[in-house]
Symmetry: C2
Subunit: 272 residues, 2 copies
Amino acid sequence: MNAREKLIASCERTKSQLCIGLDIDPKRVPKSCGEGVKGMFQFAMKIIAATADIAAAYKPNMAFFEALGPEGLSLLKHIIGRIPPEAVIILDAKRGDIGNTAEFYAKSVFDLFKADWTTVNPYMGYDSVKPFLERKDKGAFILCLTSNAGAQDFQWQEIDHVPLYLHVARKAAAWNKDDTCGLVVGATYPDQIGPIREAAGDMPLLIPGIGAQGGDLEKAIRFGTANFTKPAVINVSRGVLYASEGEDFDKAARNEAIRLNDIISRLKNTPA
Amino acid sequence: MNAREKLIASCERTKSQLCIGLDIDPKRVPKSCGEGVKGMFQFAMKIIAATADIAAAYKPNMAFFEALGPEGLSLLKHIIGRIPPEAVIILDAKRGDIGNTAEFYAKSVFDLFKADWTTVNPYMGYDSVKPFLERKDKGAFILCLTSNAGAQDFQWQEIDHVPLYLHVARKAAAWNKDDTCGLVVGATYPDQIGPIREAAGDMPLLIPGIGAQGGDLEKAIRFGTANFTKPAVINVSRGVLYASEGEDFDKAARNEAIRLNDIISRLKNTPA
């Protein structure tokens, strides 16, 4: 089973297209979890325990762990080690460097941290993403149209009347020889997801921007999955992790995940 | 003294425009240095000792350390801690993420690892680089035209008859309100450096691609510094680190650094 098949199987198993982003900000960890790195670990364990049956994937973001130095990377390894093996692990790193250096990053995310998927930045072109795409049992979501305001600075710029993000989608489709490639497409630009899905063929999409960023869940899932015929996961980070600041944070996280999954299920059972 | 002034001062102090890239591949560390992480540390110490008076900057690349996990980040901290404080430290990380996440990356490179400068990827636009540029005592080299073959996939694409890399240079110049911004421009595309320098104004350039990548040192330095009137450093990694595979590796590294500096000095004393 390659990473694409694992993603599809995990969505079927959990009847969910939800990815929970583990963006653990030490300042927002409830006091009951404890202090420092131990508190972050406890918090992650409780979030995972509360959502394991309804999250197709978990997406830790490297930045939050790297900012804590060596201890942070140990924490990340421990958290990933406790995610159920059937759940998909997307290590959000947005790496991109020249070929021989990118190989070291690929080793890091796939071999050291045991991620199924990672995220990569396309700006440096094919040789910077090749070491990730060549790993036949793994996958790389290439940043295409990101969910932030800054996406407009370059991604929206038109080359021969086609925006850069669509060029990226088309190149990625051409690079995707081993079914190891996916695309990151923000829910904050819902009307752009349709054309990207068309260029992407059967590639999985990772769709962030729901919740704190205000993206459009319904359009994102309709266009992103081409009405539930193609693989896609919707990521939510802060909206689930910090659904409550109280002691009931894990219950609140579960409820928010269920609420989002219910919206998606209703769409699935309603003709477009 | 901000990071830009430190860079200029360090070039003057060393009479050099050389940046030595600390891309330490454990497989290429000479046996005499010892095994594993300790061997890498010894290797770095000997390279730094052999070049401290002739290197304006050192540029460790995060990938090589991250691939070793927590131990690798400890190693990086220890190596940076032993670089003479007057030398510029450029932590090559090529990070880029949405604003609140980018802040964690900025903390990592500047506060935890104590870098003066880092490298950032522009694909996600202004809010992804802002947390780096806002640090008035620090600096960020934005990837503009990178030295690898893949640069042609997107960076060379034309928007309104202007290649994307030149749009990046112009945006960066507009974002550079606090003199905290620089650009990465590969020596492998020497004829493109002139127009980038023009767009960049007084921003420092970080120019990789000399040595293993086959870039053009003479054009790079002429165009990159606008005939020694603007700040720029030339990076060389493998060409210096692995100048010899024998026990004399540190002497060979020094000789190679001196050889490159001599070429630059001769150019300085020869009218364009």
